[in-house]
Symmetry: C2
Subunit: 341 residues, 2 copies
């Protein structure tokens, strides 16, 4: 059984390429309120896991001990673009916890935000680990290690107390007591695999943490609020999370992941959304999450947000030559609108 086609790319009168995938939407009580495709096979949430990976930072008391603000908490959940608003804050945060760039276990990669990247090329500067899109998450891990007074070296290893804490909270939230399969993420941290249904349930508990233990519930509320308050820190200029969270005007937190994972947390409805495109294409996962948020009546009429759902394909002469759009299965998906707030 293959997953349904969710997104199609046209050229002229024909569909040129298609993207298959699966969607799970859950409530905190564990009920799956909507599903499409295979939601039971294990997949890696990749960076969509960051809101869960950042929970121990607050729950442990580390965030308060180091006086972190919402900006740092948003960066702990970020796949940022390496803009000055991101890198300056991560650099200052590292200093605050007595760490330096080389303490980060993530590698360097070209800076995503083009004006900064071009300026660095002009100046002959190499990207640093602080420019890594995951540098906020890693600084969060280091902060927990500092707070617990455990070794910071090796904080990215599966066996380290910080990563074991992440595994524990993910197991708790998703309701999976057994050890989850895991792999190494692009940034060198462990990433845990679980089904879309289980991860949607975990996200729903962040959306509606009422039944969680007190410290964890407070941590979840604070983290989701921080993401929603700082869409520009969670991603960056022109990026899908920044566009979508702004267009949802405080009603949803969203988080992209590599290989076309996408997660969303809807506090007012207590919903968690997890989706994955089979082939790993980000153009398709962005289309699907935006279409779902629109069906839930959460999106404003912001043009950039609606162009994530459906947009012309342009060529090098800027002529419209096709379209990226939801395919039939996604158009027909019976996802009910939430009442306007």
């Amino acid at each position: 059984m293959s997953n349904p086609i969710l997104v199609e790319i046209t050229r002229g009168s024909l569909v040129e390429s298609v993207h298959r995938g699966a969607i799970a939407i859950a409530r905190a009580d564990g009920e799956i309120t909507y599903s499409l495709g295979d939601i039971e096979s294990p997949v890696y949430p990749r960076s969509s896991l960051k809101p869960v990976q950042a929970l121990p930072l607050i729950e442990s008391g580390a965030a308060d001990a180091f006086g972190l603000a919402d900006e740092e908490l948003a960066l702990a959940c970020a796949s940022h673009s390496g803009e000055p608003i991101h890198t300056a804050r991560v650099a200052a945060w590292l200093m605050k916890i007595g760490c330096i760039e080389s303490d980060l276990a993530c590698g360097a990669h070209p800076v995503r935000y083009e004006p900064v990247w071009h300026e660095m090329v002009r100046l002959g500067l190499a990207a640093t680990r602080i420019h890594n899109n995951c540098s906020g998450k890693h600084t969060g891990f280091l902060t927990v290690a500092r707070h617990w007074d455990v070794a910071i070296k090796g904080y990215e290893l599966h066996s380290h107390p910080v990563q074991q804490a992440v595994a524990k909270v993910l197991g708790d939230l998703s309701g999976i007591p057994a050890e989850l399969p895991w792999g190494i993420d692009g940034c060198a941290a462990p990433n845990f695999a679980l089904s879309l249904s289980a991860f949607a349930r975990a996200l729903a508990k962040l959306a509606d943490p009422g039944a969680l233990p007190g410290a964890r519930a407070a941590a979840a509320r604070r983290l989701v609020r921080a993401m929603i308050a700082h869409p520009e820190l969670v991603a960056g200029t022109g990026r899908s999370d920044t566009i979508l969270m702004r267009a949802c005007r405080g009603r949803a937190a969203t988080k992209t992941g590599a290989e076309a994972f996408y997660a969303a947390i809807i506090p007012e409805a207590g919903l968690g959304i997890a989706l994955k495109i089979d082939d790993g294409a980000g153009r398709a996962s962005e289309t699907v999450i935006a279409a779902i948020l629109d069906k839930l009546a959460l999106l404003s009429d912001d043009k950039a947000a609606h162009e994530l759902i459906r947009a012309p394909v342009r060529n090098t002469r800027d002529a419209v030559v096709g379209e990226r759009r939801p395919a039939r299965a996604l158009v027909d998906a019976k996802i009910e609108a939430l009442p306007a707030q």
Copy 2:
């Protein structure tokens, strides 16, 4: 019916993403010697169409009239990387036919070859139309228009004699007398859609042009020879076509296309190969064409060529975290080895 999974990307112990697609291999007599998946629905060959688009350049006598060498013919079939070996030759060729950069209908896009792109960023230079990966194809079109003494303005329009000549030769080679559906390519030229089976047959006639009219047969032989003689001009440093043609040591011409099309021409066996990955991912089309060439026993033991088939996925710390590899359906594909030459 969905196409089979041909390529998979793993992380840790799990398959993280998969790519589906279809393959057609044909002989010049029209027989399909191997197929997998849907080979009858129309698809755009995109830049894999270039060897057909370049045929009128030779067949019309334009190439001889302007004294073009194999280098220019290879560039007419190229999706080049914008390296000096590409752009200097295209610029000189344009001058030879009395044209200038602004006569090219293709738009500018960032230069693919990083050292050149970084140098341009450092110097504050914008990419020109000559840097467009299709500038050789477009200069070929202009050359035919010059030779026929027809308007060069509008040479990229479907109704222009040059594009009508391309449509005619593609119809002849593929055995489809009706007008083909078409769309506008990334470079503004028309691109025609046809089935993988029909396009594989057209490619087979380039591989084995014995039954074609004399001038067309000679043009096909010369063009394929030019591609095979100049793998570095058809693509560029580190690119799949350059790697594969070198590893095939003169026994195959290959040509990638956008949205994960791939074509190959095997003169010694008279075979044409056409494949398309459903989702448009180049990492998968490269894997599939390399795996097919290896099954045909055409690849040397060149490391880069074999890494197109199967390679580690590395993270930002350069650690191996997974693998890109042929999936079961491709591993099991019964494609017979050609005898060594």
